[in-house]
């Protein structure tokens, strides 16, 4: 049922998370790397000589019949498929609820519609692109495919989109639901790419995705992707690890404030910096925003293995979902691929902290291997 029964349990502290953690029982990720096959883990890293990374497609005929696939735009295909991979991975046919995040919805199909209405000066436009333009299209498409009649939410708030879906999932579990399918998806549209170029946010070409953190060059590489997870109360044979909690903060005024948020977040979750083995940093190649991240890496995370991920998936507002996937894979395999290591302090990935930010949106997540 869709109603949320009240539960006496409350979170320990503001946005500190559940404390006990939710088990990650299924994952599905489609990204500019070959990530759709859960039996692999970045065995081969894809190198791009461009500032725009696009998803490596899975075989979508495995997920949709020819009749339903024909109207789907690119993001709808890879977003929905990532959700289905996570469900299958968890051995679930129907999740308890679905909560998703997308910063920009489905810009390619929306712009196709916009383009046609401008070109014909509002005379006659085709409805198919319009009906796919609402931000909840992927989330509801998954519900439609697996007949999930329960809670279905879509958050569209920049760098808080995936984070809000995670909070929603934690609340749902408090409200006695289970097996929440939570995920995020975004795509880099031609328009967004042009805007990123114009505002100089983007790294100039020629560039190489495997070489963006060094001194030379400035700017991000545009990216995209979809990642979904089944979060549950109980551990299964397929469990990757536990998601302990997350916290978002808006417009911090100094590195000091960020530092305080990190330390208080760890404390709220009965953890401390000493417990953390691996830090996933949101370092992106843009000098200005990286300055704070590098400062923290140098002065706060002095004993942890530091890893980066945006050379693999590019920069986009829900990239923290890719980092969530990375954390899940590392916890289960107890391995850290060489291709993500920035600073190796030979720690095994038991307790993992993610700190990412997109402009004013800052986000923390904590993971614990089982």
């Amino acid at each position: 049922m869709s109603n949320q029964k009240e539960n006496k349990t409350v979170f320990k502290a503001p946005f500190g998370g559940l404390g006990a953690g939710l088990f990650i029982n299924g994952i599905g990720c489609i990204s500019p790397q070959r990530t759709f096959d859960n039996s692999e883990f970045l065995a081969e890293v894809k190198e791009y000589n461009t500032n725009r990374l696009t998803c490596v497609d899975a075989d979508y005929t495995k997920f949709f019949d020819a009749g339903s696939i024909r109207r789907m735009g690119r993001l709808m295909k890879y977003g929905t498929a990532a959700g289905m991979i996570a469900l299958r991975d968890a051995g679930l046919e129907v999740p308890g609820a679905i909560s998703t995040g997308t910063a920009l919805g489905l810009p390619e199909v929306s712009q196709k519609f916009l383009k046609s209405l401008i070109e014909v000066d509002e005379t006659i436009v085709s409805p198919t692109t319009f009906i796919q333009s609402t931000h909840n299209t992927v989330s509801s498409n998954i519900a439609l495919l697996c007949k999930c009649f329960s809670h279905n939410n879509t958050f569209s708030h920049k760098g808080f989109s995936f984070e809000s879906a995670l909070t929603d999932a934690q609340l749902l579990v408090l409200e006695n639901m289970n097996n929440i399918l939570v995920g995020a998806y975004d795509e880099v549209s031609d328009y967004k790419y042009a805007a990123m170029k114009k505002t100089k946010e983007l790294r100039g070409e020629p560039c190489n995705n495997l070489d963006i953190y060094g001194e030379k060059g400035n700017g991000v590489i545009a990216g995209e992707g979809a990642a979904f997870f089944v979060l549950a109360k109980e551990k299964t044979e397929n469990t990757y690890g536990s998601f302990v909690g997350n916290k978002t903060f808006y417009k911090p005024e100094s590195t000091e404030e960020i530092r305080n948020h990190i330390l208080s977040f760890l404390k709220e979750n009965n953890s401390s910096l000493e417990d953390i083995d691996v830090v996933i940093t949101g370092i992106s190649g843009a000098k200005e925003t990286d300055a704070t991240r590098i400062d923290l890496n140098k002065n706060l995370f002095t004993t942890q293995t530091i890893i980066a991920y945006k050379h693999l998936c590019g920069e986009y507002m829900t990239s923290s979902a890719f980092a969530f996937w990375l954390a899940s894979k590392m916890m289960k395999s107890q391995q850290i691929p060489d291709s993500v290591i920035l600073e190796n302090r030979n720690r095994s990935p038991k307790n993992i902290l993610l700190y990412n930010s997109h402009k004013h949106n800052h986000s923390l997540m904590l993971f614990k291997a089982c």
């Binding site: 006659i124 085709s126 409805p127 198919t128 009906i131």
Partner: protein, 84 residues
């Protein structure tokens, strides 16, 4: 008429993204909706767009859709009858 039917099949495949079909897969009298080709209400709207864009024919009442869009032949008949 047979020429119009052949052209229509190509246009329908294009407009409705039926890339998994070839024109010869669609029978002249095969029902397009539900039990036939499996088209739905959104496709009916797309066919209205097709008529307007390609043939300048405006189907004012969507309720007429099911009769007009029954088969490729009924569409061709409608076009022949309404084309100026």
């Amino acid at each position: 008429m047979s020429e119009l039917i052949a052209t229509l099949k190509v246009q329908i495949i294009e407009q409705l993204n039926l890339q998994h079909l070839k024109p010869e897969d669609i029978g002249d009298d095969q029902p397009l909706f539900v039990e036939g080709l499996g088209l739905d209400s959104i496709d009916a709207l797309e066919l209205i767009v097709l008529l307007q864009q390609q043939y300048g024919i405006k189907l004012a009442n969507p309720q007429d859709g099911p009769t007009v869009f029954k088969t490729v032949r009924t569409i061709a008949d409608y076009i022949t009858a309404h084309k100026k």
